[in-house]
């Protein structure tokens, strides 16, 4: 892998996608650490991480489509599965938190009482 047979513009685009994905994923994790309560923390993983992983996968797709002949579609599949499953897991975690009556931060509006 010492000499990449690849135009530099493509390398640049791939690098940008990988870096962008990494930054977005980092922000998502930062949110997980920083946000004040469980319900707000739910937003980090469902959103920021989907875009982060999405960007990384686009980079990977470009790279492997160029290295091998033909378009590599596995990355697209990963993205689709991720988008289909991330809301479900967020929904289940939120539901579990409600069931256990986890309190939100004090300024949460309309905190459900049941």
């Amino acid at each position: 892998m010492n000499s990449l047979d690849m135009p530099w513009a493509l390398q640049l685009v791939i690098a940008l996608f990988l870096l962008g994905g990494a930054v977005v994923a980092l922000i998502g994790s930062w949110g997980l650490a920083k946000l004040p309560d469980f319900y707000t923390r739910l937003h980090g993983p469902t959103k920021a991480s989907t875009l982060g992983v999405g960007c990384t996968l686009i980079g990977s797709l470009l790279f492997f489509s160029h290295q091998q002949d033909g378009v590599s579609v596995q990355e697209a599949l990963v993205t689709i599965f991720l988008f289909a499953t991330a809301p479900v897991s967020a929904h289940m975690m939120g539901k579990a938190a409600l069931r256990r009556r986890l309190r939100g931060v004090a300024r949460t509006r309309h905190m459900p009482e049941e």
């Binding site: 977005v24 922000i27 998502g28 930062w30 949110g31 920083k34 946000l35 004040p36 309560d37 319900y39 707000t40 739910l42 937003h43 980090g44 469902t46 959103k47 920021a48 989907t50 875009l51 590599s72 579609v73 596995q74 599949l77 988008f83 289909a84 991330a86 809301p87 479900v88 967020a90 929904h91 939120g94 539901k95 409600l98 939100g104 931060v105 300024r107 949460t108 509006r109 309309h110 905190m111 459900p112």
Partner: protein, 168 residues
């Protein structure tokens, strides 16, 4: 309710889904050969057969074209929502005003409601948390709730009405 094992209903309850699974398998192994096609078709038959008991009533997609537009709108909104949430995370946490609101559903099909709930979770600052089947409402948590009436109206206009068009 179980159809006889000699009928097509028993072996292929969802023919399109079986075909989809077979195609998915081929895409996942990323090569085409007779062996893989056969394996994919076998999976396409076996998986619906085994999971049939968990399936809800089958929804019918009436119009495929609005569905395509819906997916495009959704992709753009996922991008937008990621930027919004990223900015909110980086901004000062004390300015956030998280809140819950109840979204009254107009849809009544289980599959369509699932799509709407997933859409809400993937788009700007909202996560759907609970579906109340009796009142037919969704409980939604918003990272930053400014005006709930406006948020509800926007979800209705942007996502629920196209879904009604697609499924009903």
């Amino acid at each position: 309710m179980t159809p006889s094992w000699r009928s097509r209903q028993f072996w292929l309850p969802h023919p399109l889904f079986s075909l989809f699974l077979a195609l998915l398998w081929l895409l996942m192994v990323n090569e085409f050969s007779v062996a893989h096609a056969l394996l994919g078709l076998t999976l396409g038959v076996v998986i619906p057969l085994v999971t049939h008991a968990f399936w809800a009533e089958q929804a019918r997609i009436r119009r495929p074209l609005p569905l395509l537009r819906y997916v495009l709108v959704l992709l753009l909104d996922i991008l937008r929502s990621n930027l919004v949430v990223a900015l909110r995370i980086l901004g000062p946490a004390r300015q956030l005003e998280p809140g819950f609101f109840t979204y009254p559903l107009a849809l009544d099909d289980d599959f369509a409601i699932t799509i709407l709930a997933s859409t809400i979770s993937l788009t700007p600052g909202t996560v759907s948390i609970h579906h109340d089947a009796e009142a037919n409402t969704l409980l939604v948590h918003a990272l930053h709730l400014e005006n709930e009436i406006e948020t509800i109206a926007e979800i209705h206009r942007r996502y629920e009405r196209p879904l009604q068009e697609i499924f009903q």
